[in-house]
């Protein structure tokens, strides 16, 4: 028996699975009906307790392919029911076995819909998955004493740069807590990718002579990584940039816009986003608790390119002059719809275009000289 205690004092009693240890984190919910393996291994969930709103988790087991990182950053998993007899040809182990191996605690057999509604109404909260014999007051004081994290990116970013070689465009991928899906999209297109730590300076990045810079997703508040904001500010105008999720928010901050924390965020794979240029709406995969403030864009060089159909929040930006664009959602899917995977092609097109322009510019320049 375990209990899940929210900072507002709500208690859910359930069964433990995964690791036996206790854990404190920010409790959030994800509405996807498939893709739990990708979600659990998505580094953007670092420090969080994920509630799956779909009640049956683990049905197709854990396979060797669908990880988004090697060591999941999630602090805990909350489900209605976890499956102890998965069925799928790729199944390797149960979710319980996997979480045990990764030392991640879980709690099951609770009313996850009730929990979801509480989060929806009160916003994300701190919570603890605790042993059921621990008194509530004790849990609550532990929760109060535990501050929210502010170094998540540091925890999940790569420590050293590494190369995934290819014959195509040279991409520097800044890892703020990158999902493998992003890397997969570039290798699929035969790019030469250098993954660098989050605090890599602009100078170091440019020294790699990238054709384009990809700013990855990552956990937490973008304002917690000021060094990256500075780097991006320096990169804008120098090289084509594409930002996803945290990378998108960092571009906004680097351009003078502002971000803020959302009540309970967007976490799921059914989020509609409207592209203001084409008028098309796409179903996207999302995972973010912060967003760019729409009104803060006014004084910047950025323009709104995509919005959430559900709540009108900022979902996409592009630079008015320079080859920079970004989206709040995950075009690499993993999990979720692949409807916006073309953005990676657009990025490569943007690079191509930029290179032609630069060539022409330099030719003009040499003619002038």
């Amino acid at each position: 028996m375990k209990q899940l205690v929210l900072e507002d004092g709500t208690v859910f009693v359930g069964e433990g699975f995964g690791s036996e240890r206790e854990t404190i984190g920010e409790v959030v919910f994800n509405t996807g009906m498939s893709g739990y393996q990708e979600v659990i291994s998505d580094p953007s969930y670092y420090g969080q307790l994920i509630t799956f709103t779909y009640p049956l988790i683990g049905n197709y087991g854990i396979n060797r392919d669908d990880f988004e990182t090697v060591n999941p950053g999630v602090f805990g998993v909350i489900v209605k029911e976890h499956c102890d007899y998965p069925s799928n040809f790729r199944n390797e182990e149960t979710i319980d076995e996997f979480l045990k191996a990764k030392n991640i605690p879980g709690i099951s057999d609770i009313d996850t819909r009730k929990l979801t509604k509480i989060i929806r109404q009160h916003g994300t909260m701190k919570a603890m998955i605790a042993s059921s014999d621990r008194p509530i007051n004790e849990v609550l004081s532990l929760l109060e004493a535990t501050p929210l994290l502010n170094d998540q990116v540091k925890q999940v970013s790569t420590v050293k740069p590494y190369v995934v070689p290819g014959r195509g465009e040279r991409i520097v991928l800044v890892d703020f807590g990158m999902k493998h899906g992003i890397l997969r999209e570039f290798t699929k297109r035969d790019c030469h990718v250098t993954v660098v730590p989050y605090h890599t300076s602009a100078e170091e990045i440019l020294r790699l002579k990238p054709d384009g810079v990809m700013l990855s997703n990552g956990p937490g508040d973008p304002k917690d990584v000021p060094e990256a904001i500075q780097t991006i500010r320096e990169l804008i105008g120098q090289v084509p940039i594409f930002g996803i999720c945290l990378g998108h928010q960092l571009i906004a901050l680097a351009s003078g816009a502002d971000t803020s924390k959302m009540k309970f965020g967007h976490r799921g794979i059914n989020q509609p986003v409207k592209d203001l240029d084409t008028g098309r709406t796409y179903i996207t995969s999302q995972n973010h608790g912060y967003a760019v403030n729409l009104h803060s864009l006014e004084e910047t060089e950025l323009q709104l390119s995509q919005v959430s159909l559900n709540d009108n929040s900022v979902e996409g930006l592009k630079h008015k002059e320079d080859p920079v664009f970004s989206v709040q959602y995950h075009p690499e899917s993993s999990p979720g719809p692949e409807d916006t995977a073309h953005l990676f092609d657009e990025f490569l097109k943007m690079i191509d275009h930029h290179q032609k322009n630069t060539k022409e510019d330099s030719q003009c320049l040499s003619v002038q000289i």
Binding site: F12, F29, T31, G32, M33, S34, G35, Q37, E38, T53, Y54, P55, L56, N59, Y60, N63, D65, D66, K80, E81, C83, Y85, P86, S87, N88, F89, R90, I110, D111, T112, R113, K114, T116, K117, R120, G268, I269, N270, Q271, P272, K274, G279, R280, T281, I283, L309, N310, S333, S334, P335, G336, P337, E338, D339
Partner: protein, 1067 residues
């Protein structure tokens, strides 16, 4: 994009009568479409021949044409109404086929009528097997190896090259009609022939068998701006090989990883894009359980049965939005009607598990071939929602209203292992119960996976968990925590009662004493992400209850559950009208029902919808929570009536139909006493308990006799017997049916049957209409053609019926609707049956007479009087014209079912025909019912001895109309004696050309065949009737039907006659 303003008038084509493969789901989609278009300000013209539907109420369209859905009549409607556009994609396969026919006829071009929704090309690309395959190849979408054939020989040749088994899929048919799986050449020969006959273009696809693959469906939508979404995906419990309409289906998919989910989602979206469909589309796919290999099985370029299911499963109203898309609106500008705040362009997220279980008609057709394959056999379905698969499945089983409320068939306990294995291997309607039995016997799930041809281990494991828990309950000590656990798993009180040797009521008390009660969760399309106001709930044993009862005065209306023979969409019509009346009167109207195909389970109809099984337990749980002022059962057919006893015992107030009135009309002795007290004539009869008593009674009353068990539902196990031999055969075959209950033996009176529907307020009685049946008493009222107003009933007899109805209703102190059937015999109207509830004819009569019967009855139930509502006593005024109700059967889908009409109901639906004369009305009705009425050709007569003299008139008229007569020897000699030319043909199996050859070679247009000796299913007559059905011929098994058809042909045609001087003039 905003809606189009260049259109003002839109013709919506409905799906016609309920048949297997096309049921109430199209009433739901059609009603939504009509409402949706009206909401946008369009003038809606509706064509649908089905009078039992809600959509054909004039409130849902501006003009309603209940005319035959044939090219001829639709052209007339188009000429008259000159609509700007037609919307055929919400009327099932019928609607789509009509769209193709209309386009090809050129009338759309002539009148400049636009086809909305799905382009003609797309219909053809999806429906024409060859074009479909070509498109899939072009898109690089895999399809199973296959070939289009148009002859049986081609089919055989191709099968040789790819090897057996193969699947035959006829082109342009619905519900897989005429197709099937073939294991060898003999089967292929047979099925390919019927498939080619069933296909309007004589085309079949012979396909490589991919049985054992997972079957997955995607419901997708697209708008004119290229926005595309998946509303829902579903996984079949049964692997490929069983028609999806006959499969247990779970939503969302359970065993697909996200990669597989997205792979199939991409394929589905590419297909809807390639077909340029603006609206809904259904894609069926097969997925190899051991790799990423998949195949596209089928695409329905329209709203389908699965979309109705997906709408109810997710809360996302597909048909409503498809209609808006058809007029140019886009998904990103239409509000999500569930949340009211977000838009329709998103993909619903479920936080529950939905299970659909088909409802098959084999309780009625015990002798029918119950094996499941690629041809759909289910008449309806139930849906259930739970927070676990186990809970969802067990609620579904409960909703079926079978013999038990659990995964348990008592007879299976004694089944021999080889029989069990055989039936596990070759799926039939009871397979899920047999899997449970096998698990009880200790079969491993791996062996079951193999025996069943690949049911996924995930599902089998879940079933095993249920059985393990069951054993724990049976053998262990039951305490509060185990009780809570089993309730969470979905066990019914009845199941716990069986396992612990208790009474169900005892379990209920015990459970209540432990405070174990369900809570209700909301269906909100978004898994709780957004606030929703949807009043759509399901039960679960969890913490938080979201269905907060209001303080309003409220009434609970019990729906009628799955569509089955004898309980069709008519009851849904009445349920919906009752709810509308309650709302009008200021009550909070609460519906409980479990049929995903219906309008009543559209959450926007009632104030609150509980999507729940209709067992006493589940109904009581809702009553305990809501505390309604009363419960209305009289619109929910037998389903709701069956609850009255239990509800009464629980102290629940039933509005209208009381247990006393049910007892008085259903209990033999009480019923006799009632009629005797009121001095109302009834056919003499007795109730007997043994064969000896039966023969004694038979001697006393005299043959022919109507025999039936005292518990009769829709004429089940009822028969007419003409001799001791037939009686003894009946007693043998139905030994289990009466199962200790007495058998009722009544005098069979051969006479005209009359049906009266009345509304009573306890004091006064008002009769909206009296109907007369074409077929004499003995044919179930649901299977006979009925005429309104009566044509042959004398004023005096009519008065007898009125008086009897009034007396009975008063004596029963009946409130609401009552239905009485009479037989007119030698100048007297005898009461056959009294039903203290809404009957099948309520929608038909309501529409014709303009009396809103269900609404009026509801008002009466809540204390209004007929006088309050402005109705006077007696019979309502009759409108002009003649209206006939013609039954529709689905025999071509049900192999081995005898088509002969009798006291047991067999029809699945009905149509209406109306015009100025009886013959014209009949012509329309029969045409709507799909009967072809040629005015020339040949007819085959083969009738029983008792019918031979009566048959002569019919033969004579056919001859005079220019028909060539064929007859079997006995029949032929009678015809010859009457100096009418006839060609004698051999009996079945004779050396010369026999009747079967005649039918197979397509030489006759009609077969008139009456039942020789009852109860002999495999008789020659049976073969003749089945051959006729399988060759699409009208087989008339009642002489009354035959005579009527002859009259219609007579009225529609002219006979050549030499002029003869009138007698006496030349004298």
């Amino acid at each position: 994009m905003p809606k189009r303003t260049d259109l003002t008038k839109i013709l919506v084509i409905g799906s016609g009568p309920i048949v297997i493969g096309q049921a109430a789901e199209f009433d739901y989609s059609g009603t939504q479409a009509c409402q949706s278009l009206k909401e946008e300000g369009y003038e809606v013209i509706l064509a649908n021949s089905n009078p039992a539907t809600i959509m054909t109420d004039h409130t849902f369209a501006d003009q309603v044409y209940m005319e035959p859905l044939t090219l001829e009549f639709l052209q007339k409607i188009i000429r008259k109404e000159t609509p700007d556009a037609i919307l055929p994609t919400l009327g099932g396969q019928t609607g789509l086929n009509m769209a193709v026919e209309l386009s090809e006829s050129g009338i759309l071009e002539e009148f400049n009528v636009e086809l909305l929704g799905t382009p003609l090309d797309a219909i053809q690309q999806a429906e024409d097997r060859e074009k479909f395959r070509a498109l899939m190849h072009e898109m690089n979408q895999p399809v199973p190896e296959s070939e289009i054939v148009s002859t049986v020989e081609q089919a055989l040749d191709f099968a040789e090259t790819i090897g057996f088994p193969v699947i035959v899929r006829p082109a342009y048919t619905m519900g897989g009609a005429g197709g099937g799986m073939c294991d060898d050449a003999a089967q292929l020969k047979e099925i390919a022939r019927s498939g080619l006959a069933a296909s309007p273009v004589s085309q079949c696809l012979i396909e490589k068998n991919i049985a054992g693959f997972k079957e997955v469906e995607y419901e997708v939508m697209r708008d004119g701006a290229d926005n595309k979404i998946v509303v829902c995906n579903m996984e079949n419990f049964d692997p490929v090989g069983i028609h999806t309409g006959d499969s247990i289906v779970v939503a969302p998919s359970q065993t697909l990883s996200d990669r597989e989910y997205q792979m199939l989602r991409n394929a589905s979206l590419e297909i809807i894009q390639a077909l340029q469909i603006e609206g809904g589309c259904n894609v069926q796919l097969a997925l190899d359980p051991d790799s990423f290999q998949y195949y596209i099985i089928e695409v329905n370029p329209r709203v389908s049965r699965s979309s109705a299911l997906a709408s109810k499963a997710t809360g996302y109203p597909i048909a409503k939005l498809a209609a808006k898309i058809a007029v140019g609106m886009t998904l990103d500008e239409i509000k999500n009607p569930v949340t009211g705040t977000t838009y329709a362009c998103f993909e619903p997220a479920l936080d529950y598990v939905v299970t659909k279980i088909p409802r098959w008609p084999f309780d009625k057709f015990a002798k029918g071939n119950r094996t499941l394959g690629t041809q759909m056999k289910a008449t309806g379905e139930v849906m259930s929602i739970g927070r676990s698969f186990e809970e969802s499945l067990l609620k579904g089983i409960r909703s079926l209203e079978g013999d038990t409320e659990e995964l348990y068939l008592s007879y299976a306990e004694h089944m021999k292992e080889e029989d069990l294995n055989r039936r596990l291997k070759k799926a039939d309607d009871e397979r899920i119960f047999l899997i449970a039995e096998a698990l009880r016997r200790g079969y491993s799930i791996e062996s079951l996976h193999d025996i069943t041809g690949g049911i996924d281990l995930f599902f089998l494991y879940k079933l095993q968990r249920i059985i393990q828990l069951e054993k724990k309950v049976a053998h262990g000590e039951m305490d509060g925590s185990l009780l809570e656990k089993v309730k969470k798993t979905g066990f019914s009180d009845q199941q716990i009662a069986r396992l612990t040797n208790r009474e169900e009521a005892e379990v209920r008390e015990w459970r209540r004493s432990h405070g174990i009660r369900p809570v209700y969760k909301m269906v909100d399309t978004c898994a709780g992400e957004f606030e929703s106001e949807t009043p759509y709930f399901y039960s679960s044993y969890e913490d938080e209850n979201e269905a907060i009862p209001s303080g309003n005065k409220k009434v609970l209306v019990i729906g009628s559950g799955p569509i089955r023979i004898g309980q069709g969409v008519e009851f849904d019509y009445a349920t919906v009208h009752s709810v509308l009346a309650l709302k009008e009167m200021g009550y909070e109207a609460i519906i409980m029902n479990n049929n995903p195909e219906t309008v009543s389970t559209d959450f926007s109809v009632s104030d609150k919808l509980y999507f729940e099984p209709l067992s006493l337990e589940d109904v009581m749980n809702v009553i305990d929570l809501e505390q309604p002022e009363g419960v209305i059962v009289q619109f929910g057919g037998q389903t709701a009536i069956n609850l009255v006893d239990g509800l009464t015992k629980e102290g629940v107030k039933i509005l209208g139909t009381t247990m006393e009135s049910i007892d008085k009309t259903e209990d033999r002795d009480l019923f006799e006493q009632l009629l005797n007290d009121l001095n109302i004539p009834k056919p003499g009869g007795e109730s007997v308990k043994s064969a000896e008593e039966a023969f004694l009674a038979a001697e006393k009353i005299g043959y022919p006799l109507v025999v039936r068990p005292s518990y009769v539902l829709g004429g089940r196990a009822m028969a007419i017997v003409y001799s001791n031999e037939e009686l003894s055969s009946y007693l043998e075959t139905n030994a289990s049916a009466h199962n200790g209950h007495p058998i009722l033996i009544d005098k069979y009176m051969t006479g005209m049957e009359i049906e009266v529907d009345a509304i009573s307020d306890g004091e006064d009685v008002f009769i909206p209409g009296i109907m007369e049946h074409i077929e004499r008493a003995g044919v179930h009222s649901g299977d006979s053609m009925a005429v309104y107003p009566t044509q042959r009933l004398t004023k005096e007899l009519e008065q007898q019926c009125i008086d009897a109805t009034t007396k009975i209703a008063r004596d029963l102190n009946m409130k609401g609707l009552i239905n009485i059937q009479f037989v007119v015999y030698k100048g007297t109207a005898y009461v056959l049956e009294v039903n203290p509830r809404a009957s099948r004819t309520v929608p038909f009569l309501s529409k014709i007479t303009g009396v809103p019967m269900a609404r009026l009855a509801t008002k009466v139930l809540l204390g209004k009087t007929l006088k309050d509502e402005g109705y006077t006593l007696g019979v309502a005024a009759k409108p002009n014209g003649v209206y006939v109700k013609v039954p529709v059967f689905s025999f071509e889908k049900l192999r081995s079912v005898d088509t002969t009409l009798g006291p047991e109901m067999k029809s699945t639906g009905e149509v209406i025909g109306y015009d100025q004369t009886l013959e014209k009305a009949l012509y329309k009705g029969m045409t709507s019912a799909g009967l072809k009425i040629p005015t020339q050709g040949s007819v085959l007569l083969t009738v029983a001895d008792k019918d031979k003299s009566e048959m002569l008139d019919i033969a004579k008229t056919f001859f005079e109309l220019g028909f060539r007569l064929f007859a079997t020897e006995g029949t032929a000699s009678v015809i010859e004696e009457a100096q009418i030319p006839v060609e004698a043909v051999g009996k079945v199996g004779s050396d010369q050309r026999d009747v079967i050859d005649l039918i197979q070679q397509g030489e006759v247009q009609f077969v008139v065949n009456t039942l020789n000796k009852g109860m002999r299913a495999r008789s020659d007559g049976f073969r003749i009737r089945r051959e006729a059905v399988e060759h699409g011929l009208a087989c008339l098994t009642s002489l009354d039907t035959a005579k009527t058809i002859v009259d219609v042909i007579n009225a529609m045609s002219f006979s050549a006659r030499a002029i003869t001087p009138m007698e006496g003039v030349t004298g």
